[in-house]
Symmetry: C2
Subunit: 645 residues, 2 copies
Amino acid sequence: MSAGEPVFNRPALEQLLGKRFFYAPAFSLYGGVAGLYDYGPPGCALQANVLDIWRKHFVLEEDMLEVDCSIMTPAEVLKTSGHVDRFSDWMCKDLKTGEIFRADHLVENVLEARLDGDKIARNAPVETKADKDEKKKKKAAKVTAVRLEDATVQTYKEILAQIDNYSGPQLGELMRTHQIKSPETGNDISEPVVFNLMFASSIGPTGQFPGFLRPETAQGQFLNFKRLLEFNNDRMPFASAQIGRSFRNEISPREGLLRVREFTMAEIEHYVDPAKKDHARFNEVANYKLNILPASVQLQGKTELLSISVGEAVEKKIIDNQTLGYFLVRIHMFLTKIGINPDRIRFRQHMANEMAHYACDCWDAEIHTSYGWKECVGCADRSAYDLTVHTNKTGEKLVVRERLPEPLVEEKLQLEINKKVFGPRFKKNAKAVEDHLAALEQCKQAHDSTGSFAVAVNGDSFDITKDLISSFEKVSITTHIREFTPNVIEPSFGIGRILYCLMEHVYWTRPEGEARGVLSFPPIVAPTKCLLVPLSTNEAFVPVLNQVSGMLRRSGVSSKVDDSGASIGRRYARNDELGTPFGITVDFQSVQDNTVTLRERDSTKQIRESVDVIVELLKDMCEGRSSWAEVSAKYPAFVSQEVAE
Amino acid sequence: MSAGEPVFNRPALEQLLGKRFFYAPAFSLYGGVAGLYDYGPPGCALQANVLDIWRKHFVLEEDMLEVDCSIMTPAEVLKTSGHVDRFSDWMCKDLKTGEIFRADHLVENVLEARLDGDKIARNAPVETKADKDEKKKKKAAKVTAVRLEDATVQTYKEILAQIDNYSGPQLGELMRTHQIKSPETGNDISEPVVFNLMFASSIGPTGQFPGFLRPETAQGQFLNFKRLLEFNNDRMPFASAQIGRSFRNEISPREGLLRVREFTMAEIEHYVDPAKKDHARFNEVANYKLNILPASVQLQGKTELLSISVGEAVEKKIIDNQTLGYFLVRIHMFLTKIGINPDRIRFRQHMANEMAHYACDCWDAEIHTSYGWKECVGCADRSAYDLTVHTNKTGEKLVVRERLPEPLVEEKLQLEINKKVFGPRFKKNAKAVEDHLAALEQCKQAHDSTGSFAVAVNGDSFDITKDLISSFEKVSITTHIREFTPNVIEPSFGIGRILYCLMEHVYWTRPEGEARGVLSFPPIVAPTKCLLVPLSTNEAFVPVLNQVSGMLRRSGVSSKVDDSGASIGRRYARNDELGTPFGITVDFQSVQDNTVTLRERDSTKQIRESVDVIVELLKDMCEGRSSWAEVSAKYPAFVSQEVAE
C-alpha cells in the first residue's frame, strides 16, 4: 500500500465511509441509538464477501458442521450457562447528575488524561489530533497540564496495562485511592455495581416465560451437541460453526463499530477429547510465527510482544496445546487473507480476572487501530464447562462414548462385610466405616496378614476384627467403553470489528492534487470487483458494455456500470472510495477490435487486451488465483487513452 | 418426480427431517419453546443455497441495493410505523383454566371439526390420517359425528372462506352466535382482546429506553431511504433489499416451520413514482400465466382459481399495475426455480380487513401443503404510507425531487385583498373568507364582470363588494422541480416457510422393498451436491478420491466423502434422505483408467466417464446450466458395477 500521508486521519475515513454508505448510525432520523448501526450496499457486500471467505477457510476446509440457531433464548438456558449471574460489566454513576459510566472505562480515561497532562507538562509529544477528537467524543476527562511524580506515572502505567484484570470492588478501590471523579462535573462517583449485559424479553402471550437475546451463538451449538455428534457418525474430534447476530446491552457503546449492541459473529466450537488435545494437522503450521503477549508478561505491567513459532510456543507450554495453537495460526491466516496488515496483529492471553466465566484459557487476536489494540477474535478453551453444566441441569448426558481399542482391565478391591455383626457393632458409623474400608488397599493387606486392624474414620478409631468381614478380594473389572465430556476450543469472530479494522488498514489518500481517499481492499473482499465505464454516453458503446457485463456476471465477477456523464477521472475517484479494484474502459477502439483497457486501482496502471482475455484475468485475480503484480508483469502497460468526444 | 405412495405421509417426512437434522425444535433439552427452531447442517446449507439464488434472482439481476440493518429498534420508530398500535392478533382465554387461544384459529378449528363431524355423520370421506395427527397436536376441537343442517354447513364454509377477514369484535360475535367454547374443557371463552406481536425489551443501562425486536426488515430500509436514493445517484425507480432475522411473538405457534416466533426474511422495497407504476421490463413477462384468487371471489365465499396472463390481469385491473404484476411473475419464477411445484402455487389477494395496516393492496404467493394453502411470500403495495409517517414524525423529508423534462407552467389566481376594509368588515371570519376567495375560479369571473358577488363560507353568506379587493389576477407560476413521495411495492419472503413447503414438495418414497425416503431437491439448492463413495475402505482408492474431491472443491461443487464401511446401497440410501442429487463411485477400474461412475438420485441411473468429464458435467448441472435428462441422453448408461472385494 502507498505511504499516503504520515498521520492517519480518522475523521476523513469516517466521512468517506458515511458518504459512500458503508455503514451509518441506525435510526439517525430519530436521533440514533448508541451502538446500533446499519450497513449500506458496499458495507453489506464487504461483509458478505468476508463471511464467504470465512466459510470457505474454516467450515469447508475443515468439514465443520454449520448450524443456524435461535437468537431468542429461554432464561433457564442462560441461567445454567452462567450468563444470567456473571455476564456483566461494572457500572457506576455520577452521584449528582446520574450519568452512567462503565467503571473500567472511567478509570482508564481519567488516568490516560492525567498521563497526557503530565507529558504536556514535561514537553513530551502527546498523541495525534485524531485521537484527541475521539477523546472528546468519548467525553473523556479533560487533559490538564499537570506534572505527576515519576512514581505516580509508573503506577498509572501499571494499572492501565492490566485494566481488564480488575474486579468491581477493586475498581472502586482504585477510584478512591486515585481520587477519580466524574470527568465533566467533578462530582463523586458511586461504588461500581454489576450490570447484566443481556437484553431481556418475554416469550409468548402470558408474559411469564422470560427470555434473553443470545449474547453469543455458542449455547445453541452446545445444546445441539448430541445431534451434531450423531450427524458426524459419532466421530471425534469435530467442530460445529455458526454465523449469526448476537446482542449485548453495552453500558457505553463507543468507538464506532468496535463496541456495539448488536453484531454479527462467526463462532466455531471444536470438540476435542481432553486426553488428546493434539491436532492432526499441527505439523502443517508448527513453523508459522505469531506475535504473542502472554498473561505473565502483562502481569509484570509490560506489553512487549514475543515473536515465536507456534510449534515452539506449544512446546514451551506458553500456548497450552496443539489444537489451540493450530487455531491461532488459522485465525492469523484468515485475517491476513482478507487484508488485515500482519504487522498489526497480536495474540494476547487473558489474565485470570478478565477471563469469561466459562473459559479456562483464552487468547485474543487483537488488531491495531487508531484506537489502539482491539480484540477482534477470541480463542477460548472453554474446557468441559458448558457441556457439563447443561448435562447437570437437564440430566441429558452430553458426552462421547468411545469404544476402547482394547478393553481396559482394572483390578479393584471388592469387600463383602458380615452385615449381622457389622451393623450392630458400628451402628450409625457402619456405612462410613464400610466405605472407608473398600477404598483402602492397606486394609486388605492388614486383613490378609494380621486378620485384624484399626481404621480412623471421621476422627474416631474403629477396630476391624476378622468376624466383621465375609470376604475381601481383588477382582478384575473389564471396560469396553470410555465415556468423556469433550473439551471445547472456541474461536469466536466479531465480524463488525474485523470489518472496521480492515477499512482502517486499507485506507490511504493519493498525494496528488487534492487528497483523494482510496480503500485498497484485496480483490477477493472488495464490495464490487470491477467498474465499467464507457468513454462517454455515446450509444455506440452499449453493445460492448452489455457484452462485458454479461461475461463478468457469468464468471461471478460483480461489476457496476457507471454511464453517468461525469469525467472518467471523477468516476474512477468515486470507485477508489468504494474500493473497487479494477476498471474497464470501453472506447471507440473497443467497438472496432473488441479490446478494452483494464485499470488497477492502487497503481492506476492499465493494460489493453481482448475482452476474453481481460475477463479471464479478472476472474483469476478476484478469486485469489493470481495478482495484479503477475498480470502487469506479463502484459504490456497501456498508456495513451482516447479522450471523450 | 416419482409418484411415490398415494397418500402424503407427513409423520414419515418429519421423522426423516429430524433424523437427518434438517431442523429440530430449539432448546429441546430444556423442554423446548414453541415456535423456535434450530437448523442443522443440511437445513443450514439448504437455506444458504436458497438465499444465494434469491440474491442472484432479485438483487443482482435487478441491481437492487442490499442493506443489513439493526434488529433492535427503538419503540418510537415502531410507534410511528403503526406497529405498536396495530401489529397484533386477537387473543381469548378459557375463562376457567386461563388457556390462551388465537381467536381466529379457535373459530377455524371448531368449525372445521364440526364440518368433519358432519361428514362422518353423512358417511362422506374425511381427511387423511396425517391431518388428524396434526389436529391433535394443535389441540383442536374433538370431532364428533353430528349431522348439521345444510344451511349451517353452508354458513360455516362461508365463514371459513373469509376467516382472515374478521375483526376481534366480529370474532367475538361469531363465537356467541355459533356457541364456540374452549375445545378441551367446554368452558366459556372471553371476548377477544388485542395482543401485540412484538417482543419488547429495553436499550441501555437506565432501563428507560424501550425497544422492540423488528417484526419485519422493512423499517430499516425506509429509514435509510435518503442515503439509498443518493447512493443510486438520485435515479428512480430503484429497490433496496434485505435478508435477515425478524421476530413475532405468536400467540400459538403451530404447524412446524410455518408459524414461528423467529424467522429469516428476505424483503424488497421497490420505490416507484406513484404517477408511473408501469415497469420497464413488463413486456418480458406479460404472457406469463398465473393462478390467482382475487379478493372479490373470496368475498363471495368462493376459492376457485383463475388462470390468467399477468398482462391481461393488469389490463383488466384485477392486478392494479405493471410493477405489482412484474413482481408476482418474478416471485413465481423464483419459487419454481428452487423446486416448488408450480401446480401448487397460487396468488391470493388480501381482503380489506386482513390487510396489514400499512398496505393498500396485497397479493400473497400461497403454496399448497399438507396443511392447506400457506402464505409464503407477500407482495404488498404499501403506497406512500411508511415514508409519509416517518417524514411527518421526524420532519426529515423522505421524498424524491425530480427535475422536470420541461418546466411546468401553471396559471394560478393571485388575490390581494384590501386589508383595511376586509378585516374590519368580516372580523373573525376574515381569514376564512379570504381563503375561500383565493380558491374560487368563479369568484374571479364574478369579480371581473359584476364587481360584486356573494359567497357562502361555513354556512354564512358574505357579500364581496369591489372595495374589498385590491387586485385579483391570473399569474403564471413556473416549476422546475417535482417533489413526490414514492410508493413502495414490497415483495416479502418468509424463508423458513418456503423451505418447509419445498421439503414437502420434493419428498417421496421409493416403492421397492421397505419404504425409503428421498428428497428430490433440484441440484442448485441441494445441501450437498455430490456423495463420493469408494467401493470399499481399500487404501488404493484414496488418491482418486482426493483428486476428485479437490477438483470438485475448485469447481465450487460441494461434496462429502462417505468412506464408512457400510454397503454402497446403504450409503446411497442415507444420501437420498439428505437429498444429495449425485454420487460418484470410485472402484478398481477408476484406479487404472481414471474413470468413475456418476449416479443420479431420482432415476438411480449411472454413466461412466473420465473424471474430467464427470466434474465438468456436475458443475454444469449444479449451476443450472444443464440437466440430468440432457446428460443421460448424451452419455451411455452404465449398468454393471463392480462389487466390493
